[in-house]
Amino acid sequence: MERVERENGCFHTFCPIASVAWLHRKIKDSFFLIVGTHTCAHFIQTALDVMVYAHSRFGFAVLEESDLVSASPTEELGKVVQQVVDEWHPKVIFVLSTCSVDILKMDLEVSCKDLSTRFGFPVLPAATSGIDRSFTQGEDAVLHALLPFVPKEAPAVEPVEEKKPRWFSFGKETEKEKAEPARNLVLIGAVTDSTIQQLQWELKQLGLPKVDVFPDGDIRKMPVINEQTVVVPLQPYLNDTLATIRRERGAKVLSTVFPIGPDGTARFLEAICSEFGLVTSRIKEKEAQAWRDLEPQLQILRGKKIMFLGDNLLELPLARFLTSCGVQVVEAGTPYIHSKDLQQELELLQERDVRIVESPDFTKQLQRMQEYKPDLVVAGLGICNPLEAMGFTTAWSIEFTFAQIHGFVNAIDLIKLFTKPLLKRQALMEHGWAEAGWLE
């Protein structure tokens, strides 16, 4: 880790409450209630500029001045929750805290506990204050809040037995009954159903027919996690959730790289197969095929210089994937590095001599950019357009959060997020913009 630089800079990233944009779609019949100021609400509606869902299942409990001096927010919050219940009849409400809650040291945990009891369904507090968290970490907070709904034991329902009388018996049945409780695999991360289906399909082909994912879209169907469980994160920013799983469930958290890119996916699958004693030989072959499918895109990327300014915490896995593509990653800026959960990614990057900057200083990055002359800069929404006007080619870091990038099948979508801006620049140069003096 000695080669990670730290700048303690003013990085540009969204507030963690931005994660409601995907979480409220992922968790069915949920409602996300953000307790904060007018600014929180204004941020969500203007900065994201999403507004694609006329009826989003989230809202704001906007603090008024009188709330600031209130002893406990429970009563006021209860009224707001009542309104939400009347309109939406949710099966679970997540109460998201914000900077103001943090500054005011409001205790939403206690309020939520009281309200869960009063309303008779889960009202879960999630710590999504932006004081020291990046926007994707909102997901960590919500997953963490969901952990109490992850059962420790499989439901006591008897499996339906075949009633057909057996006409033969080899006397092995007693053995079976005494078998060790089976170890189960749980992947962690709020990814799409389609991504889940793909990863399950891969693992099934490798001999693991049952793969659970946390969170399930249905709060009543969360997978079992206990000492028998092998847990593998899909996203690099789920550190609190993983820590709690380690601590409270005694589950084994597999330390591997993330299944992003063919290289990452292969290592991820290999680690799981090894853990479950399955043959891994087919994985190499699959990886090779995946790379072959990417070849036209790789030809565009090889030798290019790419810089990450740091935004969504996916930077290290993405940088690692790019180095495997033959890209020179001139700087991997990232808001925060959890050295344990990112250990393997860090090792790979350091082997490949990638400069890693934690909490980078944007002003300094601007200067370094002039030196690097990167072919592509991956940056937050707020600065892409000015960088483009300055002559840089940019990719939009939030696109990586809002795209399906895990596994072999999605590798083509992932790589195109990098090649697309390069191809666009090239296409536009060929179609009139070179004459328009675009290079200058």
């Binding site: 003013c10 990085f11 540009h12 990233t13 969204f14 507030c15 963690p16 409450i17 307790v35 100021t37 007018h38 600014t39 929180c40 609400a41 204004h42 941020f43 509606q45 203007t46 900065a47 500029d49 507004m51 006329a54 009826h55 809202g59 704001f60 409990a61 906007v62 603090l63 008024e64 001045e65 009188s66 709330d67 600031l68 209130s70 927010p73 006021e76 919050l77 009224k79 707001v80 309104q83 939400v84 309109e87 914000t98 900077c99 103001s100 943090d102 500054i103 005011l104 204050s129 932006g130 004081i131 020291d132 002003t363 937050g380 929404l381 707020g382 600065i383 357009n385 000015p386 006007a389």
Partner: protein, 523 residues
């Protein structure tokens, strides 16, 4: 005192957005935002919505865990110094945000000390960033700027005006500015200065060269005009010229003060050969617009203006509303009897439900009402902030003046169902996307969302009405975009008269009742 409030969407922005709209629109003014990292989203608004080609002039002095523990002064001082050295602005604005206000730090004291060392002048907005909303903050902050910098100057030789209002992130405000400039040019009036858009310290100092201040939007800017009047005796008007009457008044008010003839300008724009008269008089617009039932909702200026405009083209305004609750009285007075009802409210959900219950032919609202309209299948035009990126167009798109009206007529025309089209649909039903289906899926959606929802409060003893077979058949013959309204009207009629079943007789009687009541030709 108000307590914690449930909100789905906000109408006005925050004090921070107001401050950064003023400061960000000016020249050589840089803003240091003292707040948690999420508050840096103002950058996104400038670079995405306004498609800034330079890095927006806002630097965050981040309050993180460390600043929470050890105090944020060091970070702030360092940030301000760096901005001063790096950007060399004339002015650095140091602003708190909603949440950093809660830390109750004395930014003014920091600025006072630090200001001695910086080349830039440091300004701390005299605003409560937690309590105040966008327009109040803009109004106060503009006034603060004017108070700080305006000086007595000789008047320009030719009659000149200052335009107070245009700023980034306003609703089509920069397009409006161009339109007003070209209007003033036609009238022979010179523009001395615009504030805040493009203004520098120099602009502020020379404001008093003008003969008249024009405050273009009622939401903010008037206090600055008032100050300039008190301090320098400058005359001012507050007017948002939308539609023919408000534009005429605007032009005449300026003409009077400038001693210039303006009648020919007005006549020329409203002549029978002009686009506005040609459209307004056309049989097409008679058929498509006259008597249609609209609702209008937005900020004060645009809601008032659009209500005027709609009446001027024959559209009925069932209710007009604004979220500017502080301006309720003025709004009531401005709307007068132009709308059947006035509705001042800033609760998204309440407005949404009111739209649903009104069953309008067209909605004029903010982006939020566009959501509500989409949900209930009403056509909608966005006429006010808060707006979507689509309301930050590249091609000139004014709202004000005659050109603004012309553009709005096009927009209405392309949003509302055209006359002949509506007739045909009334006569013989909708087109099916497939072939030969009796009812399209689009209709089904509409039917679902049109059918009266479980009412918010079930009136005790309200009778569930049955529709007999013939009546049901008759209802199905009604085009889907009015079926919901017909159903509701008929049921209300039936309930009030104690019928327990809707028959053809009831339908026909209800129709006669509702149609003959109205003298405006609406359905």
């Amino acid at each position: 005192m108000a307590r914690m409030k449930l909100a789905y969407w906000m109408y006005e922005g925050t004090a921070l957005s107001g401050i950064t709209r003023v400061a960000g629109s000016m020249q050589k003014v840089h803003t240091v935002i003292h707040g948690p990292q999420g508050d840096g989203y103002v950058n996104v608004m400038y670079s995405m919505l306004e498609r800034f080609h330079t890095i927006p002039p806002f630097t965050l002095s981040t309050i993180g865990r460390r600043e929470m523990a050890q105090g944020s002064r060091a970070r702030l001082v360092e940030t301000v110094r760096r901005v001063d050295a790096q950007h060399q602005p004339d002015i650095i604005v140091i602003t708190p945000t909603c949440s950093s206000t809660l830390l109750q730090e004395d930014l003014l004291a920091v600025a006072r000390t630090l200001g001695k060392q910086t080349k830039a002048k440091l300004i701390v907005p005299n605003v409560n960033a937690f309590r105040d909303l966008e327009h109040r903050a803009m109004d106060d902050f503009l006034t603060q700027f004017v108070a700080e910098f305006a000086t007595e100057q000789p008047k320009t030789e030719q009659f000149s005006v200052n335009l107070i209002g245009p700023s980034y992130l306003g609703f089509h405000q920069l397009h409006d500015m161009q339109e007003i400039r070209s209007m003033l040019e036609s009238l022979g009036v010179v523009v001395n200065a615009v504030l805040p858009y493009g203004a520098s310290i120099g602009t502020l100092q020379e404001l008093t060269k003008a003969h008249l201040n024009i405050c273009l939007y009622h939401e903010y800017g008037q206090s600055a005009c008032e100050l300039l009047k008190e301090k320098f005796g400058m005359d001012y008007i507050v007017a948002t010229p939308i539609g023919i009457r408000l534009t005429s008044q605007f032009v005449k008010a300026i003409g009077e003060r400038a001693g210039l003839p303006v009648e020919s300008y007005i006549r020329q724009n409203l002549a029978p050969s002009g686009t506005i008269a040609r459209f307004t008089k056309s049989v097409d617009s008679l058929s498509a617009l006259f008597g249609k039932r609209a609702v209008v909702f937005g900020d004060y200026s645009h809601a008032v203006g659009m209500t005027h405009l709609l009446r001027e083209i024959g559209v009925r305004v069932v209710w007009a509303g604004t979220y500017m609750k502080t301006m309720e009285k003025a709004f009531q007075a401005a709307i007068g009897d132009l709308a059947d009802e006035v509705f001042v409210c800033d609760d998204f959900q309440a407005i949404s439900h009111k739209i649903r219950d009104t069953h309008p032919d067209i909605v004029f609202g903010t982006q939020m009402e566009r959501h509500s309209s989409a949900r209930f299948n009403f056509p909608c035009i966005v006429i006010s902030s808060p707006a979507h990126i689509l309301n930050f167009p590249l091609f000139p798109a004014p709202v004000l003046g005659y050109q603004g009206m012309t553009r709005m007529l096009d927009t209405i025309n392309s949003t509302i169902k055209l006359g002949l089209e509506e007739h045909l649909v009334n006569m013989f039903g909708e087109d099916s996307p497939g072939m030969g289906e009796e009812e399209t899926a689009q209709e089904q959606v509409a039917v679902t969302s049109d059918l009266p929802k479980a009412p918010d409060k079930t009136t005790a003893g309200e009778v569930e009405l049955k529709w007999d077979a013939e009546a049901t058949k008759a209802l199905k013959q009604v085009p889907f975009f009015v079926r919901g309204k017909v159903q509701r009207n008929t049921e209300n009629y039936a309930r009030e008269r104690g019928y327990s079943e809707v028959t053809l007789e009831v339908i026909y009687a209800a129709k006669a009742y509702f149609e003959s009541k109205s003298n405006q030709g609406e359905r």
